[in-house]
């Protein structure tokens, strides 16, 4: 470990055992007992934070951690518009090729160093090597340089309509700004210290993977004046300390909330909601107004789904309600139907072309299968039984495909194994697959660029590796277009092609409820759980 490491546990319990009787504080154990006047938010996150570098991983839990510790140049507000966050302002040259961005005053990193333009430049460069949208931006970027401590200049090689949308991207990977010395880390390795300029500090020596993550308010953070709105606006930290307590068992987490041992439970299991709601001191609401999209993904490299008629048949054989009742149960938590590939409620919502998803027609599906000459080839569906949202989708799909006469093999495994197996490019009989279930947050699916499940660049595309030049051309046209109305027209044309090509089945739009006790106020409605603005009595 290097000198600069945030992981140096002076107070490893081993040592503590050896020191039994001596005061552990002597070993630098940042004594966990908070001072009396401190306000503490104790919450149960949806997953265990195991990687702390939000550029290295796309895991949502690491993104949420990133938002506490780091800040961004730009940020998306509740109108899905990009606003300056660390930026004071920006100017675009006449030809639209040069963006000059000025940093606002008073930006400080947690180690006391002022935030400089060179930090932002290095951070964007590293992010641009990891993130899909970042890579696209870097491909059209001629140069990005720090002009002085306060100013950076991004010069494009060709017109590009998504510069701000990329820098103000709300979900993974978010272009968080880090000190240059950390941002110079190899993008394929994790940074070894968590120093940001966000409203909370990461307390490295209290981090216990699989158990707890601790954040403390960063007193020197200067929030913007505007009210908080999604990731934009003033990030005002109203609590002194945030404790993420990872409780893997859903029933125990619910009981802990009901007993008042934790204040906030990010993603309670839907089947336990009635129990939680029976407690008058607990509020259950969906804080993410955009929701989540269920996804059934095909493998385009191998029969039978290399034939678009078979994919269309699969779409005719299912209906979203079947999926949603299977994974969410309660209709108040999902849309009856959403025919938009780029989400209902998003800026590019349209249901053009969605008839085959809206209606369930077994006969039509069978006719398409016959036309495609389906010969009983086995269909291997990966079924991650440890993740209810994925497991439910796998089962519903299996039944629907059996109903139209397909030969289905459900391959039961755990999620981690599935993430390995879906990357296997061999044929299904050689350890590959035909279908896997997953889901994406709406925030990731709002347009043809961030929604990587529609990308169709063959071997370089997302798992399943679809290839369709028309889709790629339309996505590129969308990226270059700067006018919203023209963008919408492109999306309509694209969606008609998508429903013909069927890159995946959108199995419905649903909303994950969050539960918190009545001593918690100021919970922001946003697609990401933000922890500024929240107060605890």
């Amino acid at each position: 470990m290097t000198k600069h490491n945030g992981f140096n546990y002076l107070a490893a319990p081993m040592r503590r055992l050896a020191l039994a009787g001596t005061v552990a504080a002597a070993a630098g154990l940042g004594m966990a007992a908070p001072a009396l006047a401190e306000s503490v938010l104790k919450m149960v996150p949806h997953a265990d934070l195991r990687n702390i570098d939000p550029i290295w991983t796309t895991a949502y839990i690491t993104r949420n951690h990133g938002y506490l510790v780091f800040d961004t140049l730009f940020a998306m507000d509740e109108n899905l518009e990009v606003q300056p966050q660390m930026a004071e302002g920006y100017e675009v040259s006449e030809d639209g090729l040069t963006y000059t961005i000025t940093l606002r005053d008073g930006l400080l990193f947690h180690d006391g160093a002022p935030v400089k333009a060179e930090d932002a430049v290095a951070s964007i460069k590293r992010w641009g090597q990891r993130d899909g949208m970042g890579q696209k931006l870097m491909r059209v970027t001629e140069s990005i340089v720090a002009v002085d401590d306060k100013t950076l200049k991004l010069t494009l090689s060709e017109p590009y309509g998504l510069v701000l949308a990329s820098l103000g991207k709300i979900s993974s990977n978010v272009p968080f700004i880090m000190p240059k010395r950390l941002a110079d880390t190899d993008p394929n390795a994790q940074i070894e210290e968590i120093i940001g300029s966000g409203p909370f500090k990461f307390v490295a020596d209290e981090w216990q993977p699989g158990n707890q993550v601790i954040y403390e308010k960063f007193a020197e953070y200067v929030p913007r004046d505007e009210p908080a709105s999604y990731a934009a606006g003033g990030k005002v930290a109203n609590v002194d300390r945030i404790e993420w307590r990872y409780i893997p068992d859903a029933a125990t987490a619910s009981q802990a909330l009901m007993a008042g041992e934790v204040d906030y439970y990010e993603q309670p299991a839907v089947d336990l909601l009635p129990m939680i709601q029976s407690d008058p001191g607990i509020k259950v609401e969906t804080v993410d107004p955009l929701g989540t999209q269920g996804v059934i993904r095909f493998n385009f490299k191998y029969p039978p789904f290399d034939n678009k008629l078979v994919r269309q048949a699969a779409m005719w054989s299912v209906q979203q309600a079947d999926y949603m009742y299977a994974i969410m149960g309660d209709p108040q938590y999902f849309e009856e139907f959403c025919g938009a590939y780029f989400m209902c409620g998003g800026p590019y919502e349209t249901d053009v072309g969605s008839e085959l998803l809206r209606e369930k027609d077994i006969e039509k599906a069978k006719a398409l299968l016959a036309e495609a000459g389906y010969d009983g080839t086995p269909v291997v569906i990966l079924d991650p039984t440890d993740v209810p949202v994925a497991h439910g989708q796998a089962l519903v799909t299996a039944q629907a495909l059996r109903d139209i006469g397909m030969n289905v093999e459900l391959s039961a495994l755990d999620w981690a194994t599935m993430t390995s197996r879906r990357a296997v490019r061999e044929s299904p009989e050689n350890g590959g697959w035909n279908i896997f279930p997953t889901w994406w947050l709406a925030a990731d699916q709002l347009n043809p660029i961030t929604n990587i499940s529609v990308a169709a660049s063959g071997e370089n595309a997302w798992f399943g590796w679809p290839e369709n030049q028309k889709i790629e051309d339309l996505r590129n046209a969308f990226a270059k277009e700067t006018d919203l109305e023209k963008q919408k027209a492109i999306v309509e044309e694209l969606q008609i092609e998508l429903y013909d090509f069927v890159p995946y089945i959108p199995t419905g739009q649903y909303y994950q409820p969050t539960a918190y006790r009545d001593n918690v106020s100021g919970v922001l409605k946003a697609p990401v759980p933000f922890f500024w603005n929240i107060s605890v009595e």
Binding site: Y9, D249, A251, Q255, A256, E261, D414, W415, R425
Partner: protein, 313 residues
């Protein structure tokens, strides 16, 4: 005796080496690929290869093993693939809760189960005996997590005596430690208690029919003295064997108990690591568990000396 202990300790070395090889091979035969998990959704095959290279996963297996074993001999178990923290640190963070949970469970179980078994044997065939044995069957049959939930519902939510979940270090706050450890120790102890109580009853029944017990009674010794000094002492050899072997049950139960009560112990570390194929962590934890088990067996063997003077090492 000392020579025997040293011999036994030396004998653990080949056992541990075998365990190390076995665990290593087993893990690397599993279909999961940590490089793919790390690479995320957009990585090209080249990037995945690069990650494999960085993790040393594309070297031949024997090289990987030798590399790992060499570091192990220097006390370096490597780093977690995911968090980047040293495995020794991760295990260090987790030893205390699991150790305390196991010790408290054993303590509660032994203190409760042996007297129950003795009483059941002494009152054999009565309602007392039947009640104890029914409880034992119950404790043995009901899964740990069900008992755990019942204890949470009763002890935490209805009575409010104990917290639902979590752990407090014994060195920081003894009161907090006791309140946090009680329910998990009871939940985990149920199976173990059932096992020890049944074994105690069975061996006591055998011993109570021996001539020397009749002689002891004939001498006019008090029942308590006969039961404890004469009968129980002779019954202790098989009972302590059961106590030792039962630890294997505990290790399995620890995983479930720690999950239900959100205790940050080695059991949960193991499950988390297995679910993510975090090779270095799994290897480290299994070594620690195996070594503990081997050591416990040694302690059990040594305890025979206390109960049976004919046994000499």
């Amino acid at each position: 005796m000392i020579a025997y202990i040293i011999r036994r300790l030396l004998a653990t070395i080949p056992i541990m080496a075998l365990v190390a090889v076995f665990v290593f091979m087993l893990l690397h035969l599993s279909p999961s690929d940590p490089a793919l998990i790390i690479a995320g959704d957009f990585a090209t095959p080249e990037q995945v290869d690069e990650i494999r290279r960085q993790l040393g996963l594309n070297a031949p297996l024997y090289q990987q093993f030798l590399h790992w074993a060499g570091n192990l001999l220097q006390g370096d178990m490597g780093k977690s693939i995911y968090s980047g923290l040293p495995v020794t640190t991760l295990i260090g963070q987790r030893v205390e809760p699991t150790l305390m949970l196991t010790l408290c469970t054993m303590l509660i179980a032994i203190v409760l189960a042996i007297p129950l078994g003795v009483i059941a044997a002494w009152k054999v065939g009565t309602w007392i005996d039947r009640t104890v044995m029914t409880l034992a069957v119950f404790g043995f049959s009901v899964p740990v997590f069900v008992i755990g939930y019942l204890l949470i519902l009763g002890g935490s939510r209805k009575l409010g005596w104990f917290p639902v979940q979590g752990y407090t270090s014994i060195f920081e706050d003894f009161g907090g430690f006791v309140s946090h450890i009680t329910l998990p120790a009871l939940a985990l102890g149920a199976v173990y208690m059932a096992l020890i109580a049944r074994m105690t009853r069975a061996t006591m029944l055998e011993v109570l029919n021996e001539d020397y017990v009749r002689t002891a009674y004939a001498k006019g010794l008090a029942t308590r003295k006969v039961l404890v000094k004469h009968a129980l002492k002779n019954a202790m050899v098989p009972i302590s064997t059961t106590i030792g072997l039962g630890v294997a049950l505990l290790i399995g139960g620890v995983v479930v108990t720690e999950t239900v009560f959100a205790i940050p112990g080695l059991g949960r570390l193991t499950v988390d690591a297995v679910l993510r194929t975090d090779y270095p962590v799994i290897q480290g934890v299994i070594l620690v568990f195996s070594f503990t088990y081997v050591l416990l067996n040694l302690l059990v063997d040594l305890s025979y000396v206390l109960f049976d003077p004919r046994i000499r090492y």
